[in-house]
């Protein structure tokens, strides 16, 4: 299992949720994981129902069996100051830079620089060791930018190469790339069983592969329960309406005769079944498209009551059950 787990996906597919569930799953049984946010959205804080996260690693959850999940919202400006401090001991000059807007300037004018700071911080956490020589975190999970931007985001070397041909930024980019392109890293893509997210996932995978970035798994999120299977749907088409009306009546829902309450339910229920069938066919189609991509596939259930902390632990359990940690 790679130690840096990057989670991307089309907007609206729930990548923050999947990243958080993965961090919980990987922390189970005494492990320690760091969940990293890079887009300043405070999605992790919302998910874990805590106050906004500062730029500081802090414990936000305990996993089953005593594991711990830490979280960090990386701020590119503060990361740059950190970095300057670490390498140049700038002290007050760093603050002066900030006051002048130099930090904003540097992180704005060169998005590659911004990205190398974000990924650099995550890679630093991956490599960090404590005094006894053990890794500070067993795993680092990154809630990364969406599929459309992920390759560019991770491929910092190319981005920065044109800007800094030598110097510390250049070296930093090289070091980051060594981690990102190694087996230490796996990039997972979250999708839904819908056309556009699946298409975007396929495109994202080819881009990642072309950039030689390690593609991990496909996580299909919010999978609806299979209430009726293909055989049932066949039966829906062949069963006479009167039989359904009688059956509904037998279930205690009123009269089966024309105009009876049970009979009046037949049409709307069949309409719902028809919509379900259409969806079912589309989802099967998307499943086969995903299967052709040749990556391990995982499916996570749609939580009927919406996402909350309990649901998150449920998803983490599901990921473990599927052998993801």
């Amino acid at each position: 299992m790679s130690r840096l787990q990057v989670v991307s996906g089309k907007g609206g597919t729930g990548k923050t949720t999947v990243a958080a569930a993965l961090a919980l799953a990987l922390a189970t049984e005494g492990k320690r994981t760091l969940l990293v946010e890079v887009e300043g959205r405070q999605g992790i804080a919302q998910l874990f129902e805590t106050d906004a996260l500062p730029y500081e690693e802090r414990k936000i959850a305990v996993a089953p069996g005593g594991g711990e999940v830490y979280a960090l919202a990386i701020d590119p400006e503060l990361a740059l100051l950190d970095y300057l401090q670490m390498f140049y001991k700038l002290g007050g000059a760093g603050r002066a830079l900030k006051k002048l807007g130099a930090i904003d300037f540097a992180t704005t004018i060169a998005p590659g620089l911004r990205d190398v700071l974000l990924t650099g911080k995550a890679c630093e956490a991956v490599r960090r060791k404590d005094k006894s020589g053990r890794f500070a975190y067993d795993y680092v999970v990154m809630d990364a930018p969406p599929t459309g931007r992920i390759t560019r985001f991770l491929n910092v070397n190319d981005e920065v190469a044109g800007l800094a041909k030598i110097g510390p930024i250049h070296n930093q980019a090289q070091a980051v790339m060594r981690v990102l392109k190694s087996k230490e890293t796996a990039v997972h893509l979250v999708t839904l069983l819908e056309e556009m997210p699946v298409q975007e996932t396929a495109d994202g995978i080819s881009e990642l592969r072309a950039a030689r970035l390690p593609v991990g798994r496909i996580m299909v999120n919010m999978v609806r329960p299979e209430v009726l299977d293909a055989a049932d749907l066949e039966l829906v088409r062949s069963t006479p309406r009167t039989a359904l009306a009688k059956s509904l009546s037998a279930a205690g829902l009123g009269g089966a005769r024309r105009g009876g309450n049970a009979e009046k339910l037949v049409d709307p229920l069949l309409a719902e079944a028809e919509e379900y069938a259409e969806r079912y066919a589309l989802e099967e189609e998307q499943r086969s498209v995903l299967a052709e991509l040749g990556l391990p596939l995982h499916e996570l259930p749609l939580l009927a009551e919406g996402m909350d902390l309990g649901g998150l632990y449920g998803l983490a359990r599901e990921l473990r059950r599927q052998g993801l940690s």
Binding site: P145, G252, A271
Partner: protein
Amino acid sequence: MSPEAAKANAQESARHRLSPARVLDIDPLLDDPKTRIMVCCGSGGVGKTTTAAALGLRAAERGRKVVVLTIDPARRLAQSMGIDSLDNIPRRVKGLEDSGGGGELHAMMLDMKRTFDEIVEAHADPERAAAILSNPFYQSLSAGFAGTQEYMAMEKLGQLRAKEEWDLIVVDTPPSRSALDFLDAPKRLGSFLDGKLIRLLLAPAKVGGRAGMKFLNVGMSMMTGALGKLLGGQLLKDVQTFVAAMDSMFGGFRTRADATYKLLQAPGTAFLVVAAPERDALREAAYFVERLAAEDMPLAGLVLNRVHGSGADRLSAERALGAAENLVEPRIVDQHGGKAGLRNSPDTYGSSESLASTARDTADGAPDGSTASEPGSPGPDQEDQSVDRLTAGLLRLHADRMHVLSREQRTRDRFTARHPEVAVTEVAALPGDVHDLVGLRDIGDRLAANRPELPETDGN
């Protein structure tokens, strides 16, 4: 059910159907010649682009000359408008239903690098333009800066509007990490290129010459030193060249950003916040509504996509599940099922029903635990059982649907409680994606129909 309970139930379902929110009427907005710009904004994955395209098509078929500016490179959407790939130039969409109003639909997709290049080419002499275009910082900024896309979208909008070629411009905003980026970006890029630091980089000598600026000068030399160390000398030189070139060319980015802002605040602009009835999407929508108000931007209303309905919404999830249980395990009949069975009017079962069904009805009514004799012929009984299993499945499906309905209702209620002033239009969920103009037209119809899922109001 007691009369009071029945009355409460009726009130509950009336509340369910009649939203307390104001209804957003799309057609008058589209038809009003004073509406010149419509901006669709909202978080990612809520159907912004599709909504923009559907609005554009509807306005065109109602006789207006429309251009849709999309930012999201959704190939399928381009294809649905009969265009293989959209580019930076508006392309005419064919196959519109001619209402005799002479409307036209054009569509384009923002190419932000191309748009940026065009600005450079338009504002600098060829030699200088070439120098800027080949500067590594320009390349990085024009292709990747998180705010460039937003800024260029606004720039393009300004260009389209200035041409006076279209009656209506429908814009889809970029899939920003946060909805607010889109409003912040022009200012940010503007203030950034106009900022103190740039002044310093351009003319450190001038600043240093003033006595009061001594401290700043110290800071400055420390800073250039630090930047030089960090980025390398070549890089700093590139930055300075770039900034100098940009500065001479734009003559005040802030002015442009301000003009864009004013355009958005103008009365001819209508913002539509797009969301799905999900917690996160509506939370973003609420932020957006508040932000638009704070910026004096004219909000027309909220488009709530993917709303589920049911033709049988009088049958609650609980009752459907109870009934499904009765069917699958007919011998374990709970009080509720028994009572429900008794409520049936006797004539329902009287006439031509099959024997098996009647036998089971008896079993249904029987007290808990009593074993009904297995009916004789296995053939029809098995068939009956499979119909019952199927019916139970349909009822569970319905229960799921009712759960979705009530969750969506709760989520939406939270939004309307917070923002009762916002007019809302709901668009019923479609099972699949939109592939063609027919699909877009269908969405347009749903947008304009105020309550698409309004069920018949006969009582239960």
